[in-house]
């Protein structure tokens, strides 16, 4: 196979001592920052993005792949060992994981999470290797109207799925689109919405938006509602599990992978829905001991959702690498990382930069293996990280946010913009606006505009050109469907007030 040969070449590039070192630094930093409470995978990637600027692209993406998987991984440790609800994708893991930990089975919970993540990550990355060339082959014929429809689908899906309130999801999306408009129009060189500030001519850097909305917004939000009780961390030794745990874990791992990968690849799919579905499926399938233990700390309820979580992380990379379409906030920031190097993910990237793409995919396999080796023995260390005093933690987050943003252009104007965006992030958190649509709108908005103008220019101003291709029609219909989903769901909920333990992560 052609792509197999390219993957082997990718391994050749990723397995040099220097790049292995970058991968190791990536997974270690990713896990370390991901373990910190209050920091999800998206913020981990945003905070660590500036570090990669001084590194050549190939190595930077190898490091980034490590940060991405490491950050996903770190979150699960937090939710198992810390007895407080965390961000939505790892909240499901916490349901059974934390109960297991408190019954003295923390080591097993961490082990099934680590090994499950490894299994799911490896299978899902293999699926990525198979799926990516197929999607590229299909997408190579996409015209601008198809890309525009794809962007519209991503916008509506992510706004409708990530919030319980559609209008808040759309408001978040709109805020991101407006931020994306600021600066010089790429086609005509006209300045838009810069309000006369010369520093805004280049637009607002994605790093500032991500760090502002996530890091500074989180710090301000935490300041407003800091939990003053000392965090309760379950003590743990080396993560391990026995034969019975293996027997109970392997099927949930595989089922979680099967759920996570496709959902990760869908616009608006993300990690929340597959982790929830996996949790519900394992609950339904539980027999014997598992059935008795469910709700009190069943290993199946950790193994399945954790596998789903990591498989969705690999699934997200399919549309990101092949179409340039981010389906989660983390993916949007990864896309921004590509753009920092002047690279545009999409079918052409596989053509023009095969070494870089396949080197990155190969390093996902390597990073996954490193994470397994790193995390089983290092669990006690991560548990200690969780005890870091909260005032220091959030003060440190702000210092690093300021560092990363100042380092971009060396101007304090960026720090003022960072603060304004931090306030916006704070307001969004407080009022329950999801942050992901804003980040995706900001990054995908300018691309949607270019494709729209290109399509309309080809069609000589005729709007019907947008629905000329069947692909675009299907995508736009799906987008409409995504907008109507909350309404349908509302009606369904009204009809049968089904008593579920936890409601879908909508």
């Amino acid at each position: 196979m052609d792509s197999l040969q390219l993957l082997i070449d990718g391994f050749g590039a990723a397995l040099t001592p220097v790049n292995l070192l970058y991968a190791l630094v990536g997974v270690t930093l990713g896990t370390l920052v991901g373990v910190l409470p209050g920091i999800g995978p998206a913020m981990t990637v945003a905070l660590l993005l500036p570090i990669t600027f001084t590194v050549p692209p190939a190595s930077a993406f190898i490091m980034f792949a490590g940060i991405y998987y490491g950050g996903m991984y770190g979150g699960s440790t937090t939710s198992i060992l810390l007895n407080t609800p965390g961000e939505s994708s790892s909240m499901i893991t916490a349901l059974e994981g934390n109960k297991m930990a408190r019954r003295g089975r923390a080591a097993q919970a961490l082990a099934t999470a680590a090994i499950g993540s490894f299994v799911a990550g490896t299978i899902a990355t293999a699926l990525l290797v198979v799926a990516a060339p197929a999607v590229v082959a299909f997408a190579i014929s996409f015209g601008p109207e198809d890309y525009f429809a794809l962007a519209i689908l991503a916008f509506t899906a992510v706004s409708a799925v990530l919030s319980r309130s559609l209008v808040r999801g759309l408001a978040s999306l709109g805020l991101g689109l407006v931020i994306g408009l600021i600066g010089i129009d790429q086609q005509t060189g006209q300045a838009r919405l810069t309000m006369g500030v010369p520093q805004l001519l280049d637009g607002i850097d994605v790093v500032i938006v991500a760090v502002g909305l996530f890091a500074l917004g989180e710090a301000l939000y935490v300041a407003s509602r800091l939990r003053h009780s000392t965090p309760e961390v379950v003590p743990v030794g080396r993560a391990w599990m026995g034969r019975a745990d293996w027997a109970r874990s392997w099927k949930p791992w595989l089922r979680g992978t099967a759920l996570g990968f496709p959902f990760g690849a869908l616009p608006g799919g993300g990690a929340e829905i597959p982790t929830f579905l996996s949790y519900a499926a394992e609950k339904k399938l539980a027999r014997g001991t598992a059935r008795e233990e469910y709700g009190k700390g069943a290993i199946e309820g950790v193994a399945g959702p954790e596998a789903a979580n990591n498989a969705s992380a690999a699934g997200t990379l399919v549309p990101l690498l092949t179409l340039g379409l981010p389906t989660s906030a983390t993916a949007a920031i990864l896309l921004a990382a590509f753009q920092q190097y002047g690279l545009q993910p999409g079918p052409q990237l596989f053509d023009h930069n095969p070494a870089l793409v396949w080197g990155m995919i190969a390093s996902l396999f390597i990073g996954n293996t490193m994470l397994l080796v790193l995390n089983l023995p290092l669990a006690p260390l991560w548990a200690r990280v969780l005890r870091i005093p909260r005032p220091y933690l959030y003060a440190g987050i702000v210092v690093f946010a300021a560092l990363g943003v100042y380092a971009l252009n060396g101007t304090v104007v960026d720090l003022v913009v960072l603060y304004v965006l931090g306030l916006l992030g704070f307001a969004m958190r407080r009022f329950g606006l999801p942050v992901a649509p804003a980040v995706i709108g900001m990054i995908l908005g300018p691309m949607a505009e270019i494709q729209l103008r290109r399509a309309l220019a080809i069609g000589a101003g005729d709007v019907s050109v947008l629905v000329k291709s069947p692909v675009a029609v299907v995508l736009l219909l799906l987008a409409l469907g995504a907008l109507l989903t909350p309404l349908v769901r509302k009606l369904a909920v009204r009809r049968e007030l089904a008593p579920t333990v936890i409601h879908e992560e909508d």
């Binding site: 409470p37 209050g38 609800p85 965390g86 961000e87 939505s88 919030s163 319980r164 309130s165 559609l166 209008v167 808040r168 759309l170 408001a171 709109g174 805020l175 408009l181 086609q187 005509t188 006209q190 838009r192 919405l193 939000y221 935490v222 300041a223 407003s224 509602r225 800091l226 939990r227 003053h228 965090p231 005032p391 220091y392 003060a395 210092v399 300021a402 560092l403 100042y406 380092a407 060396g410 304090v412 720090l415 603060y419 931090g422 306030l423 958190r429 009022f431 329950g432 908005g445 949607a448 103008r453 309309l456 220019a457 000589a460 907008l483 309404l487 769901r489 509302k490 409601h503 909508d506």
Partner: protein
């Protein structure tokens, strides 16, 4: 956009934060009005962008007008939703007590310290500036041991400066310590 004005609420009994009785005046109204105002601002703010009409009317004003129009529609629905008592789910996070009343004093102090840091950064330099930022924020956020917070701040400022400036070649202001390091 068919009536997105009432959020779908989970039928589960999980406590939603801020179960206040519906009131006319709610702080969220400000955010909803900001969304609405931004929509207007985008349209008004791009009026003076002279469109190169060569591209069959699809100049640099076309997309902003679409976005601005959409923002106005969303903003109107959002305002209606807030007035009717709709709520989102405040973000959950490990260190956030979602049920606690907002501590505005801390938010104001964190803001003040950050903006002060921005003002003096280029004068005092990264090491002193970031050490003061760290110290100030950690004390506001409840660090009990002030001396330790100060020591951590200085060490953090020094280490990040050495690591990023000397190690990674990032530019950070030296300020008062120019020539010392």
């Amino acid at each position: 956009m068919s009536s997105p004005d009432t959020p779908v609420r989970a039928p589960s009994g999980e406590p939603t934060a801020g179960e206040e009785p519906p009131r006319r005046w709610r702080p969220e109204l400000v955010l909803a009005l900001v969304v609405l105002a931004l929509g207007v601002l985008v349209i008004v703010g791009t009026l003076n962008v002279s469109a190169a009409a060569s591209q069959l009317g699809i100049g640099p004003r076309f997309f902003p007008t679409l976005v601005g129009g959409a923002m106005i529609v969303i903003g109107v629905f959002y305002v209606i939703d807030v007035l009717r008592g709709g709520q989102g789910d405040p973000e959950e996070s490990e260190d956030v007590d979602a049920g606690a009343p907002a501590d505005w004093r801390s938010v104001a102090l964190v803001s003040g310290i950050f903006l002060a840091f921005v003002t003096v950064l280029n004068v005092v330099g990264w090491i002193i500036g970031s050490a003061l930022l760290f110290f100030g924020l950690s004390v506001v956020l409840g660090a009990g041991h002030k001396v330790r917070a100060a020591v951590v701040g200085v060490v953090l400022g020094l280490v990040t400066y050495l690591l990023f400036v000397k190690g990674l070649g990032v530019t950070l202001p030296a300020g008062w310590l120019r020539g010392v390091l």
